[in-house]
């Protein structure tokens, strides 16, 4: 039997991350990067330490943060890997390792940090 391709797995992660970033990307960047830093009320104190720890300790909040960070990373890694060819970079095992390995590191670091925040 022919060895099964692992492409569908990466494609699925790419699709899930793409959909999630199309749905949530704008709202999240707007809140975390613009509204909260500028102190626009009522969002001025939204990301205080105590609030964010409670959010990250809640299983729903934990899951949300993990899904956003990990799937965004896998989406970006897959797209950047396939764009390298368009820029004239001949992709090989090294480029693949850099792209998907990067996403894997982001996933692992986020998971460890979220676990160490506690429940």
């Amino acid at each position: 039997m022919r060895k099964r391709s692992n492409a569908p797995v990466f494609w699925l992660l790419f699709g899930a991350g793409g959909m999630l970033s199309a749905l949530f990307g704008m709202a999240l960047v707007f809140i975390t990067g613009i509204v909260v830093p500028l102190g626009v009320e009522p969002y001025g104190d939204l990301m205080s330490y105590s609030r964010m720890v409670r959010f990250a300790q809640n299983w729903l909040g934990k899951g949300f943060i993990f899904a956003i960070v990990a799937l965004f990373a896998w989406h970006a890694a897959h797209r950047i890997y396939h764009s390298l060819h368009d820029l004239g970079v001949h992709t090989g095992a090294l480029a693949k390792l850099a792209c998907y390995g990067g996403a894997l590191v982001v996933t692992a670091v986020t998971a460890i940090a979220l676990l160490s925040v506690g429940f």
Binding site: L28, T32, M47, R51, I65, I80, V106, V109, T110
Partner: protein, 138 residues
């Protein structure tokens, strides 16, 4: 193309340098692909935040302070625009990547699927902003 060693023939190979600048369609394609860099950056910024959160209140406040710097605000303005471009292109491609959908024997038009995508994003955005507002004031 024949590139065997020792061949005397040297065929003309069309240069591919800057190929995507030749056609507005290709430019749009490259802009769409570049949004991945924005998505990656945002994932890294959030990952940094989660790591700081796990380190304690001091690290977290440092991260918050970094987010308040003018460079960060400028970057997030660019990221916001990139997220918009990504969502726009994502929903424009969705009719082509999705399996065909039929309602009452009629194939659902691509423009309908694109509009549904935007409606979902609008709903999610209002929901997230509303939920955050409710959480901030309670």
């Amino acid at each position: 193309m024949n590139h065997k060693a020792g061949t005397v023939r040297r065929p003309y190979v069309r240069p591919m340098q800057g190929w995507w600048r030749r056609d507005p369609f290709f430019v749009r394609y490259m802009v769409r692909e570049v949004t991945a860099v924005a998505v990656a950056l945002y994932a890294l910024i959030l990952m940094g935040g989660v790591v700081c959160l796990a380190q304690g209140v001091l690290a977290w406040n440092l991260w918050l302070a970094a987010m308040r710097s003018p460079w960060s605000l400028l970057l997030h303005g660019v990221l916001l625009y990139a997220m918009f471009v990504h969502a726009k292109s994502w929903f424009e491609i969705m009719p082509k990547t999705m399996p065909m959908m039929f309602v009452g024997g009629q194939r659902v038009a691509g423009s309908t699927i694109t509009r549904c995508g935007w409606a979902a994003t609008a709903l999610v955005s209002v929901g997230v902003l509303g939920l955050a507002c409710w959480w901030a004031v309670r």
